[in-house]
């Protein structure tokens, strides 16, 4: 899923402080799950804005959390319902912010989050990056562990030779060396021959920016 993080309040306040009627818009999917933009976080940010703007008598903060911010229909429905607003503070990921901006064309839409990566929760409150959405998935050759994302150098023919004691990464001793993990996993699967195969340089432009997928009817 998409993992995001809230921006510091100063930054948000600088974007939005000269507007009066502000809609704080959350998203009920990925960013709810990663504790960044769900109903709870929307409530907290709204409350922060109210406290910071207590001198502004005209300040009106409204809150809303559609199921998914990146759906045109859902945002259109929201637009039809919403009354007068001067600006929207979006707590969705970058895709959400842009979807909203595409529909609320007359008012500015600001991001309250930094969209950080695609990852998964390793424990309560701990998310780790798993995939860089490179568009040409390698996992079949690497025991289901992504070297593009989890190797500090993104090596396709690893390890780099600098792996530290205990299987830690040369760049960051806190992190596991992805290639040690890959080796161990392949060893367990008796697929170590994959380690010996040479991987051609990767086509990092498998998906041209911006990526578009047009699926046929199924």
């Amino acid at each position: 899923m998409i993992v995001a993080e809230r921006k510091p309040f100063e930054e948000i306040w600088n974007m939005i402080s000269h507007y009066n009627r502000i809609l704080v818009l959350g998203c009920g999917t990925c960013v709810t799950i990663c504790w960044a933009g769900g109903e709870k976080e929307v409530g907290i940010l709204a409350s922060q804005l109210k406290i910071a703007g207590e001198k502004n008598n005209e300040l009106i903060i409204t809150e809303s959390v559609p199921e998914r911010q990146c759906e045109i229909e859902m945002i259109q429905e929201l637009k039809d319902k919403e009354g007068n607003i001067d600006a929207i503070l979006s707590m969705g990921c970058g895709a959400g912010v842009q979807t909203v901006a595409g529909i609320f064309t007359d008012i500015p839409v600001f991001p309250a989050l930094n969209t950080t990566f695609l990852g998964m929760p390793e424990a309560e409150g701990l998310w780790v990056e798993m995939c860089s959405a490179c568009g040409d998935c390698y996992l079949a050759y690497t025991g289901g562990i992504c070297p593009v994302t989890r190797c500090g150098k993104g090596l396709l023919n690893g390890p780099c030779g600098g792996t530290r004691k205990g299987g830690k990464c040369e760049i960051d001793p806190e992190k596991d060396c992805a290639w040690v993990l890959i080796y161990r996993r392949l060893e367990k699967l008796s697929m170590l021959d994959l380690m010996e195969q040479y991987r051609e340089p990767k086509n990092y432009r498998a998906v041209k920016r911006p990526g578009i997928i047009r699926a046929t009817a199924r």
């Binding site: 309040f9 709810t32 109903e39 709870k40 409350s47 207590e54 309560e124």
Partner: protein, 562 residues
């Protein structure tokens, strides 16, 4: 009084709970403590399955525990064979325990089979989860040995003493290497010193840092040892093992009474072994103490409860326990399981509900619940066509701490009271109380089990505190949501204070720690808004600390009013 009344009222709600409880108890393993527990539960009329990891019932600790153990064990074995309520399964072990009190689904491995079996309660007993190792295994042939080895070389009469011991002129003991007092090692150590004095001619010295002789018969043994001429040396904190040119081993320490460093060379140095937990794969999710033994270090769980209602710990798996304490455990575990399965256990939980439509299945609450009371269950809305799983709270395991409610990112969990006393814990009610705050008020969120009682006590003993202090009772400070803190600041209050249980004495295990983290995060957010961190406080107060409570709130008032 008040609490008792509330509980009695609540009991009306929980009766009937027992009707769908499975009336079987699983006991593992068949150590002395396990066998005793099984017999005790059988006496109360419940059926028991006794799991044993080895092929037959045994107890590997006989060397260290009282000599009587062998006989005790044999008589227990006979009783168990005759008991119709007890069914022994071996060799088998638990892989994991799913479900909640009254309806545990236990995954058991027997031979090469893995199967699930239903039990109402589970007692984890005895030493298959503990093992003893000599601390100085690598000091072979140096004259250092463990108590177990000494015991074997010594036997129990003058004729059985091995020549190795007979040759020795001086023998020194350190009962417990790890510094913590071990009653078991002290007991057996004292016994060996007496035996040495009686059956050999050697000098016996004992180095102790703190000697506790509060278990059955220990005091008597200690006196006997003194009378027989064993010399006790009380040392300060650390001792060192030394050796001299002739290769003799010795011990150096600081004698507290002489206030001097002393050195003693001896022929044999006996050092108490260390008890280490042996928890392999753990599917229990019940937490450990700092040394890795079962049971979190939390006073509310003593003696035998675990963080999951219906799972109990007995004997050595709780650490280094002597027989006397184990016996207390046995009775407690038996009684607890009996009360649970026959409906006498008044349980006042389960007033927290998930609003299924709002649940985003983020699993946060499942990870957060200290009592493992939340699982995924099929969506309860009949209008919903597709089968979807959402979080569901099992009332029989829930203790109404509200941690899940405060953490849910979708605000899908709230208190939904069956009855008045818990009304005040719902979001709606807490927010209402916050709305009533005036500009100069200091809201203090008080844990109902600790700080709130301290506040009540303060009133009782006429301790004055400012009327500006507004107490908001919560079941645990882990229930206080960030939004509650910010809503309070919206009321322009000078500060907000959270008051909960002291560390390792949190009624809900980690509610206070969670609250501490939350305060840390909230302070960061407040800093960004130009609100100083001194305006959000957190204190940890026991239920009897009325003076401390008043002092803390006065200090807080002073700090944030300037």
């Amino acid at each position: 009084m008040k609490k008792t009344r509330e509980k009695t009222e609540l009991s009306e709600l929980t009766t009937g709970e027992k009707d769908n409880f499975v009336k079987n108890v699983l006991v593992t393993a068949s150590s002395v403590s396990g066998m005793k527990t099984a017999l005790e539960i059988s006496r109360l009329g419940l059926k028991i399955t006794l799991l044993e990891k080895e092929t037959e019932l045994q107890d590997n600790h006989a060397d260290i525990v009282d000599q009587g153990t062998v006989e005790i064990r044999n008589s227990l074995l006979q009783k168990i064979e005759k008991d119709k309520n007890i069914n022994v399964v071996s060799p088998a072990s638990i892989i994991k325990i799913e479900g909640t009190a009254g309806n545990f689904s236990v995954k058991i491995k027997k031979d090469n089979d893995v199967f699930f079996q239903k039990y109402g309660a589970v007692v984890i007993a005895g030493q298959n989860l503990t093992e003893t190792v000599p601390v100085f295994l690598n000091f072979h042939n140096t004259g250092i040995m463990s108590q177990q080895k000494l015991g074997r070389l010594l036997g129990d009469s003058p004729h059985t003493v091995s020549p190795v011991i007979r040759k020795a002129k001086t023998i020194a003991f350190v009962f417990n290497d790890s510094g913590e007092n071990s009653r078991k090692l002290t007991m057996s150590g004292l016994k060996y010193t007496c035996l040495l004095k009686k059956n050999t001619n050697c000098e016996v010295y004992v180095f102790i840092s703190h000697l506790i002789v509060d278990s059955g018969g220990m005091e008597k043994l200690y006196r006997e040892a003194r009378v027989l001429g064993v010399i006790f040396i009380k040392y300060n904190e650390n001792y060192k093992i030394i050796s001299n040119k002739n290769g003799s081993i010795g011990i150096a320490a600081k004698d507290i009474f002489l206030d001097a460093d002393i050195e003693l060379f001896c022929d044999i140095l006996v050092i108490g072994e260390k008890f280490i937990p042996c928890i392999q794969e753990d599917g229990l999710k019940t937490g450990y103490d700092t040394e890795g033994f079962y049971q979190d270090a939390n006073v509310y769980l003593y003696p035998v409860s675990s963080r999951r209602r219906g799972i109990y710990f007995v004997g050595e798996c709780r650490g280094d326990q002597d027989m006397m304490r184990t016996n207390v455990d046995v009775l407690n575990a038996a009684l607890n399981s009996y009360e649970l399965l026959s409906g006498f256990d008044i349980h006042s939980g389960g007033n927290v509900k998930v609003e299924s439509e709002k649940c985003k299945v983020c699993l946060t609450c499942i990870r957060v619940c200290p009592h493992q009371a939340i699982r995924l269950v099929p969506f309860s809305d009949p209008a919903q066509q597709e089968a979807k799983n959402v979080a569901g709270i099992f009332p029989e395991a829930c203790y109404d701490c509200g941690a899940c409610s405060a953490m849910c990112p979708a605000k899908a969990i709230d208190f939904e009271f069956k009855r008045a006393p818990l009304n005040e814990y719902s979001d709606e009610q807490i927010l209402k109380e916050i709305e009533c705050l005036k500009q100069d008020d200091l809201p203090v969120f008080c844990c109902a089990e600790s700080a709130f009682l301290a506040a009540e006590r303060a009133v009782e003993i006429n301790l004055y505190y400012s009327p500006r202090v507004k107490i908001i009772r919560v079941p645990c400070i882990g229930r206080v949501d960030l939004i509650h803190l910010f809503k309070a600041f919206e009321q322009k209050v000078p500060g907000v204070l959270l008051a909960g249980c002291p560390e390792q004495a949190c009624t809900h295990l980690e509610g206070n720690i969670r609250a501490k983290d939350r305060v840390k995060y909230a302070r960061e957010l407040l800093k960004g808004m130009g609100i100083g961190e001194e305006r959000l406080g957190i204190v940890f107060i026991g239920p009897d600390m009325a003076h401390r409570f008043v002092r803390e709130i006065s200090e807080m008032l002073e700090r944030c009013s300037t």
